[in-house]
Structures are given as C-alpha cells and as structure tokens.
Amino acid sequence: MSAPLLEVEDLRVRLRTPRGPAEVVNGLSYTVGRGETVAVVGESGSGKSVSVLALLGLLPARVATVTGSARLDGEDLLTMSPERLREVRGPGVGMVFQDPMTSLNPVLTIGRQLVEGIRAHGEVSKAAAREQAAGLLAEVGLPDPQRALDRYPHELSGGMRQRVVIAIALSNNPALLIADEATTALDVTVQAQILDLVAELQSEHGTGVIWITHDLGVVAGIADRVLVMYGGRCVEDGTVDDVLERPAHPYTRGLLGALPDLAQVGDGELATVPGVPPAPTDLPPGCVFWPRCPVRSDPRCETEQPPLAVVGTSGGTLPHRAATWCEEGSPR
C-alpha cells in the first residue's frame, strides 16, 4: 500500500475554558488514503469537529493547544509555518462546514467569495477566475451559474448555499476534502444529491474525504472506513462492514441500536444510549464510556483506559480495532 494521503498520529487538543482545561481530543490516530472516504461518527461533543479544525489550524490559538502530528503528503500540518499553512488551505485541504446559513459572508456576492479563494492560490485574472467559479457552480449543480455569481447568500436556499460552500471547498482541487456535518442542516433529498455529488467528484479527482457526521445512514452510503469517536478518543474503527455489522464497542452497539426502524410501526419507544457524554473538563479515569456502559464486564473498566486493539480483520486488509475491555460477543 502506498503512503496514505493524510496520516494523523496521536492528535491531542486541549482547550482553555472558564471551567478549567478541557481535553477535547485525546490521542487520535488514523489515516486517509487517496480516493478513500473515512467517516467520523459520534455524538455531539465527542470531539469530531475540533479534531479536524485542529488539522487546519482553525482553532483560536489563544485557547487551543494542539499536539501530535498530521502529515499531509508527508508534510506536517501542525508544525508548518503560517504562510505554508495558508497555501495548503484550499489546494491541500478543502473544508465544508456544518451550517450553510452562516458559513458564507452575507455581504459579499457568491462570485466574489469563490473568486477570492481561486485567486489566493495562483496568478489568475479576475475574468478567468470568474469563469472558473461559474464552472464550479455548474459542477455542484447550481442552476444558472452565471447569474448566481452576482447573487448574495441570502438570495439562495440552504441547499443551494451548501452547494456554494462545497464549490468553494473544491475550488482549488483539494487533495483532501473535509466535510464537517456538511449535510446535517439539509433535508434528506438535498442531502442525497450532495452525497452523490461528492462521490462523483471524488471518483473524478481521486480526492480523499473525511466525512464527519452523526448520521449512520450516510456512513453506510458513502464511507469506506468508519471511525467512532467518544470522549475525544477513537473507540472503534474499521471498514464500514466490520463496524456496522460487527460492532465491538458497547458504544457503537448503542449507537446502532438507537437507529429507529422505520418498518416497525407502533408505540415502541425509541432506543437510546442513556446519559450524556462526559464533560471534556472531567473525563473518567478508566474507559471513557464506562459511566454510561450497559456491560461493564471487566474490573479494569472503571480504572484503566483500554487501548485500541485489533478485534478482527474480517473485512479485508484493514484491521478492525476497538478500545474496550469487553470480549467480543459479550452480552449487550
């Protein structure tokens, strides 16, 4: 296997908060290959967004301390100079943010926001950049792209705006695309269109994709690999089949169990994972999931952090790993 596009090793993010230091990401390691889609799933507050914002240096430096390494094509994003990082943002890594209603500047036209991104990475005339921008808008399926260039964000619907945000992220043909809950704010049909669009672009350009979501349906649809995050740690990762079909961590099982079955009509109560994720200012000493875990089969659960260990490689060459003291097949 050739060197992966992105290699994240022992990523840790600590935020200064009024309630003391918060360990938001705690030793996250993963890789993304060219043309591969890695889905990162987990509840709100599990550190998904922070872990990718940290990669691009988009966390406020005053409050965030980021350690570890994240090599994009062998070059560490976390230690590079601010100027080099600026060059990488765009052509190296494109990012799509969660909320299309707020991630575009309301007082600048769509065209301007696209053109400035294109012109920040190369000598392109305004007219040529504008042509390119119109092409991108057409590519993401915006009707009448020439006219859309002169529109302001508020003149477009949420779905259309998210297409614009995606067009901006793609405008410099990034090697890696990070989509942070990119479709969460959209309705399901628009979401499907956008997923198709990204898959199409990915197969054309060989882009690596990190897709952050808490929608397991989306994961099953687009991802090659899944990484389940909880309490700022990776608690389970592996191929989509391994993780979704043979979940090894009690938390992953809880997530999958919480999916409502649409075929089942009636007054059945929705299954949930009881409790809330631990506050990053106050993580439990043992397994991060222990306070909510329905199994707790091992005495070490409460006191000792389980390592991420291989639980099987049934899906193919990639290992299926989970951080739990639970034996595989132990009772749910």
Partner: protein, 295 residues
C-alpha cells in the same frame, strides 16, 4: 413634532417682553410690544401662525435682535457643521484603530488600556477637559488660541488652529462611545462562521480581516456614528460656550436666557430635522452596505 417643540418652549418660565424692556418700562410700550410679537394671542392661535409660517421657511423674528431666525441660524450653521464633522473625524480616528486592536486581543494590555481610556472619555465632563486643554495648549504652551472662530475662507491656518481643541474635546467623548461599539462589533464579526470559511479558503490574513471581519463590522459602526453625528450637530452647548464657538448650541443657550421664543423654537426644530435627516442618511447607507436590506 412641531407641537412638542412649540409646547416645550412655552413651558420656559419668564416673560420675554419684560426681559427685553429691562426694569423700567410703561404699560403702553409693554402692550404695544406684546401685540407686535403676537404673544397676546391664545396659544393655539400662536402655534398655528408659527407652524404655518415655518412651513414656508419663515421662522419668525428674534425678540432680542430683530433679525430673522433663519438668518441667525444661517450665520451659526457653518460653525456648527465644521465642529461636528471635525469631531466625528477625530472620533473615528480614535475609535476604529483602538476598538479594532482591543477586539483582536481581548483582555490584553491594549484592550484594558483602551477600556479604561474610553471609560474616562465617557465620564470626564466636557467642560473640564476643555478647560484643561485650554490651560495646557493655549496657556502654558501657548501653541493654540483659546477659542473663537474664523471662517475657513478668511484664514485657513487660524481656522484649523481654532478648530483643533474643541474638535478634540467632543471627538474624544464621541470616540470613547464609538470605541466600545467598534470593539464589540469587530469581536462579533471575528467569531462569525464565515470568517472560518474565509480562512479555510487559504486567504491571506489581511484579506480575511478586511473583507470578512471589518466589512461586516461596518454596519453597527454606521449606526452609532450617525447617532453621534446627530448629537454633535444639535450643538454641543458646553464646548461651544467654553471655546466661544459661535455655533447653534450657543445660539440656543442665549435664546433660552433671553426667552427669545422664536429663535429657540427655530433652533430646536432644526435639531429635530437634522436628527431625522441623519437617520435617513444612515438608513440609505445601510442599504448600500448590507445587501440583505436591498431589494
């Protein structure tokens, strides 16, 4: 609005005719003057007459000097306009850099110093600051004249010298208020999601700041600057008195002292109109700045 202006002025105690005549007068002269000024008419009648004339641009005649109110105001207007615009310039020159710096480094030394300075600027009385500045720059140092006004066309150097101190006093006060607004609006703009999008595009920091932070922080700034300008245009009475600045504030004060109803009414009406005009301009600027308001 004109009713309020008229009514308020009528509430000012004292008899203008008595004041005009001095301590010794006879009843005949008093009656004659009263009849000529129209003050013997019922209030409603007086109001209708005044409002009717005001509509045609005739604000009446000063009890005191006999000049028309419009010409009195016309004489004073250039001085007030000059001071107001100079002050707002000083205010913006202070507030925009200081507020922006504070917002960029919240809770830093710069921010704390700026907060303390603007607090001082807001709370120190204008007359005190004016007197201190006069003592220092006109008295001890002797660099600037202590007051007065020369039209720009007659003596540009003297005009600028005499404008500087009063403009600084009112500019510091307005600037202190505006600094607070700039700080909070830049801070808010900095935290907006779209700023992160701009950074993620790989834009140079300066470009992100100018077009995605400052550009968006401009909207609240326009509003507060408009309010401050309206306040300055309606005559900063205290500063005009201390610096012997022949503006509208001074005129209004003199009119109050001599119960010169027509002048006072005219001045107040003008302030109200100025306030409305500035609000109109602010609204128009808004549509120019914010596409969301445009149709």
């Amino acid at each position: 609005m004109s009713v309020i202006v008229f009514g308020l002025v009528q509430l000012v105690p004292g008899d203008p005719i008595r004041l005009a005549l001095g301590t010794r007068f006879d009843q005949e002269t008093y009656d004659a003057l009263l009849a000529r000024s129209g003050l013997d008419q019922p209030l409603v009648q007086q109001y209708v007459t005044w409002a009717g004339r005001a509509l045609t641009g005739d604000l009446g005649v000063s009890f005191r000097s006999g000049e028309t109110v419009t010409s009195l105001i016309g004489e004073r207007l250039p001085a007030t306009l000059t001071l107001a615009f100079a002050s707002i310039l000083v205010a913006l020159l202070i507030a925009v850099p200081l507020g922006t710096l504070s917002a960029l480094r919240p809770r830093s030394v710069v921010d704390r110093v700026a907060t303390v300075l603007s607090q001082i600027g807001i709370s120190v009385p204008e007359f005190w600051m004016a007197i201190v500045l006069i003592l220092v720059f006109a008295g001890t140092l002797g660099w600037l004249p202590s007051g007065g006004y020369v039209p720009l066309t007659e003596d540009p150097g003297g005009w600028a010298q005499r404008l500087l101190l009063p403009a600084v006093v009112t500019g510091v006060v307005s600037g202190s208020v505006i600094t607070r607004f700039v700080r909070s609006s830049v801070l808010e703009a900095l935290g907006a999601d779209h700023v992160r999008t701009a950074q993620a595009k790989g834009l140079p920091g300066r470009q992100v700041f100018t077009w995605h932070v400052l550009r968006n922080a401009l909207l609240p700034l326009v509003t507060v600057t408009g309010v401050q300008l309206a306040y300055l245009l309606s005559g900063v009475v205290v500063v005009e008195i201390v610096f012997a600045w022949p503006g509208l504030g001074q005129l209004a004060l003199q009119a109050v002292q001599s119960r010169d109803y027509p002048v006072l009414q005219g001045a107040i009406l003008l302030f109200a109109v100025v306030f409305l005009l500035i609000n109109l301009v602010v609204d128009l600027l808004y549509t120019a700045i914010d596409p969301r308001i445009r149709r």
